[in-house]
Symmetry: C2
Subunit: 680 residues, 2 copies
Amino acid sequence: MASIAPTIDPSGNPAIAAQQRILALPVTETRRLADAIRVLAIDAVEKANSGHPGMPMGMADAATVLFTKYLKYDAADPRWADRDRFVLSAGHGSMLLYAWLYLSGHAGIGTDDLKNFRKLHSVAAGHPEFGEHPAIETTTGPLGQGLANAVGMAMAERHLSARFGKSLVDHRTWVIAGDGCLMEGISHEAASIAGHFKLNKLTVLWDDNGISIDGDVSITSSDDVLKRFQSYGWAVKRVDGHDHEAVAKALDAATRSSRPTIIACKTIIGFAAPTKAGTAGSHGSALGKAEAQAAKDALGWTAAPFEIPEDIKASWEAAGRRSAGSRRSWLKRLAKHAQKADFERAMAGKLPDGWHESAAAYRAELAESKPKLATRVSSQKALHTLVPAIPELIGGSADLTGSNNTNVQGIPVFTVPNPAGRYIHWGIREHGMAAAMNGLALHGGVIPYSGTFLVFADYMRPAIRLAALMRQRVIHVLTHDSIGLGEDGPTHQPVETLPGLRVIPNLYVYRPADAMETAECWELAVQRADGPAVLALSRQNLPALRFEAGENKSARGGYVLAEASGERRATLIATGSEVHLAMQARETLEAEGIPTAVVSLPCWELFGLQDESYRAQVLGEAPRFGIEAALGFGWDRWLGQDGTFIGMTGFGASAPAEDLYKHFGITAEATVAAVRRKLG
Amino acid sequence: MASIAPTIDPSGNPAIAAQQRILALPVTETRRLADAIRVLAIDAVEKANSGHPGMPMGMADAATVLFTKYLKYDAADPRWADRDRFVLSAGHGSMLLYAWLYLSGHAGIGTDDLKNFRKLHSVAAGHPEFGEHPAIETTTGPLGQGLANAVGMAMAERHLSARFGKSLVDHRTWVIAGDGCLMEGISHEAASIAGHFKLNKLTVLWDDNGISIDGDVSITSSDDVLKRFQSYGWAVKRVDGHDHEAVAKALDAATRSSRPTIIACKTIIGFAAPTKAGTAGSHGSALGKAEAQAAKDALGWTAAPFEIPEDIKASWEAAGRRSAGSRRSWLKRLAKHAQKADFERAMAGKLPDGWHESAAAYRAELAESKPKLATRVSSQKALHTLVPAIPELIGGSADLTGSNNTNVQGIPVFTVPNPAGRYIHWGIREHGMAAAMNGLALHGGVIPYSGTFLVFADYMRPAIRLAALMRQRVIHVLTHDSIGLGEDGPTHQPVETLPGLRVIPNLYVYRPADAMETAECWELAVQRADGPAVLALSRQNLPALRFEAGENKSARGGYVLAEASGERRATLIATGSEVHLAMQARETLEAEGIPTAVVSLPCWELFGLQDESYRAQVLGEAPRFGIEAALGFGWDRWLGQDGTFIGMTGFGASAPAEDLYKHFGITAEATVAAVRRKLG
């Protein structure tokens, strides 16, 4: 061992000397378990000739302590509802996760998968992908997201524990985060939320290796990270991340803390690599054959690539069974639990019986009352039906409750003393909210919905993207969805935000036209278990346009709201707050003898899924006119080359809403004029 | 005064009692100056029946101390290059800014403008809009952005002071920020950057009023904000924000600090409002006639709405002239300064003589050498010409320097000891980077460019939007621009990011196809003084496709790269890394006797600006095929209803790039097959 590198590194890299001191210590069993993670990371990255060996090599020790002594899991059932959640926020270190899953005896991941690391169709993707293996709790890679997901998971646990009791829900959430996670702004929002809610079952192991891609973290940051987390009300610890006993002591303390805990694990990135350890050189690429072999030599590891000595594999598999007894006891408790059926239903993401009857009754009432309401208010009315009927719904707003109309009378707020509450004051933390909501949904047992202004979808976009990629049921209530917002001006007016969201795959963007469509879209959003939704809602009042409640017409994404009185000469296609303008225009045009149809298009994605013939029938052969108080980007798909778009062409302005609609020419009159021009 | 509200407020609102104590103090002159801001805010919001009176009313005292005694400005020349910068990060309190500008005697803003607060075409927009008045330094409203802009401004000052000397550049940057600014994640990134670079000329006055829209900040946050800023290396102070002397003392200390300073100004939101002070009720809507009048009564203010007593106006105007002498001295120093011409040119945003010759020479060399390079590498080569030729260019990367290829040999790094450096290691802080870059550009004298992966444009999106809205020359180098990124997988593969950026008004998105186009697009980006650019660049190598350097063909956004050998039967339209696939497909098709043209479309926005006839000629009458390794959203515009798109239909996957192109069917073969199918 002493041969691999001089005690004093000629490059002056102080990590090398530290590494030598650690490698000179007697080799314990847990060190050998950790080494198994290291060598698998080395081998897989080497074989793929791509990936990040440094982080798994550095964090293997701390992770091994966590995986073998603290993390509550049973490799035989990775979806056990009361398992601890483990989130690898520093997702580039994915081999740490895959190595552990393989070593601990999880089905569905074998050495072949590790050999196919970063290859097409491999479970072992470049970054951990939710859905690739049941033990992968969340998709990570975009830094900081995992940390915020974990905050949401810990909130879900807290809430469900209050709802179903500790005998069913009593688990912890563990995170491994890197410097990058903590430099990202989202870490501030997430950590602040966790501190505020005193999420004491949340523990973050910070891989404090002092290295990022560009070099030493000291090049870019002078933060006192632990002081910062103290300012959020967290408990903090600092340990040598290669000292198994010290790590265990810190994890012990974390399990007793009344606050969330962050443990700075001082580690050497690329630990064991004779020249690249402690440098950015081990971060994001294969070590190279010689360095890889020398690292194994340094560890005293003699097995062939991807081979694990039997005793080590057996020890790891025993660790994978460590909580099997807890799981069996839990299953017994569940079997005789009064809320068994409800718990299983909630965790399966199934909606309760009767919810749809309530929703249908509400829609029937709307058909009668024909209210003239802003769709944000219609949304609140829909929530007054849905939230009591679906106990999984947990709402909230990023400090715009009164504007987003996301709260429901009688539904208590989620607080430290009352975690059974189902309304979350997220604070002015849109990104943290959206990412924590992903964690709430991933945990299971809850269906989160948010509130903010549509334009601030930009602040949440990285998290919305991940919800779409992970196909999570996360619902964003985004109000003030156009220049109809008025006086707050262009910074707050989402002109490009609608098309900007429509481009995200798997995300359904709903823009309902009246109270009825709002109710329909809400139903669709909660029914869709495999993907996120945005509800784009108006600030301004809108007349009722739909007077029968039988069929959920929004379910097809678009439909003929008003057919032409004769053979169509024009089709007006609109969404949301512009549909009533189209209806007004239609009235004028019909009076002028121009048979005109109006199509409401509340959800482009659903409309896109309909068969060609239905779409052709709805859109018709007559000249088409799109009306939407947003940019026209993407409208060509529905309007054809020959269509006419009436909407925005740039940013908005600060003025009362009515003035803006006139100023930008988005009116019934402008629509009528456009049709007249077109028809000549 | 004692009559307006009981000393002990029956609602139990402790702010009322505190307010009473303050109002009972002798009225000083500066209190009267502050009251002028308060009443103008009250009057304007009342008249508009929309807006945020609470913040200006609460922060009027601290702001008055700043505006009358510390801020270096001359109302006669709001664009004086060496003025202090003032950023109202809490932009909703815009009336504080407008009231000050009017009171201090700035031209271009009068009582009529204040009476038209939040009306169409008013200088006094709902939120401060850059460009509406020369003294508005930046557009604020989306919370936290202003704070990060200010960090960039302070960096620009530091850099330019090193370049031109203290005699020309020696000013401070002041920020008023609210709780919302500090809760947003971007505040973490920005404050951490400021602390790291020890930006001691940056001072933040935090309006510590304890109130946000949903109620008490304590509902959502338990942060120890000052401790947090200490963890970033900031100096911190806490003062009574209504105590003018205490504020002055803190500002004094800030001007002597070797670190950035944050001053917690404990204030009463809506100060003087008899029932709404200290509550969310004064935050975001008009006080109402009775409360407005009672607030004025409490202040002892008897003038008519929008009227300011002459002595107060005179005092304010004197404050507006306080630094006129400094400006005159500065002008004298400038007149005889050796770098006068260069300084004026840089501040005017004009490029130096000779830069284009260098760029043209580089392109001529490319025409000869025909290199096969990833466009990210071509970009670096272009930078090796541009950065030395244009001393205003300041680059950087969010910890991906080696991947983004944004650094230039021989160009030193911007550090505390060497602020003349022109390369910034931004750390893993994309959002902070983009917003600080807006501040760099707004300050003037520098042209910032960034680096990160294209997919992380999502993290920067709110700041990119503001750069577009403010028409700032900010250039984002976004590499790894498709599934060509390979193994890192779907989290890192921007499938929807390209169309997602193309929807942003005023933003030019360039996606060059080879080294020549990359050089052209770089030239266009630096030449465009009135708007931001994104350069979407490949990770993978791309062959040279253009062999003559005369005309900058990218300047028209799109052009015929290869005309068909006979009458066109197909037009292949592609961007970036897919253009060479189109060229391969063309070769096969031509060999099969199908005359095929290839159109390169590096910039949709520029192509959209060309006249109809040019576009028609380029796109042609033959069936069109779009090829882009991204989602097809928006392509209908160029392809027509009858076009065919070859690209992505959803998220990517983790595998080597070549495998992915095959897997997703984005190949020359697939293109050939599509053409054959279409032509039958």
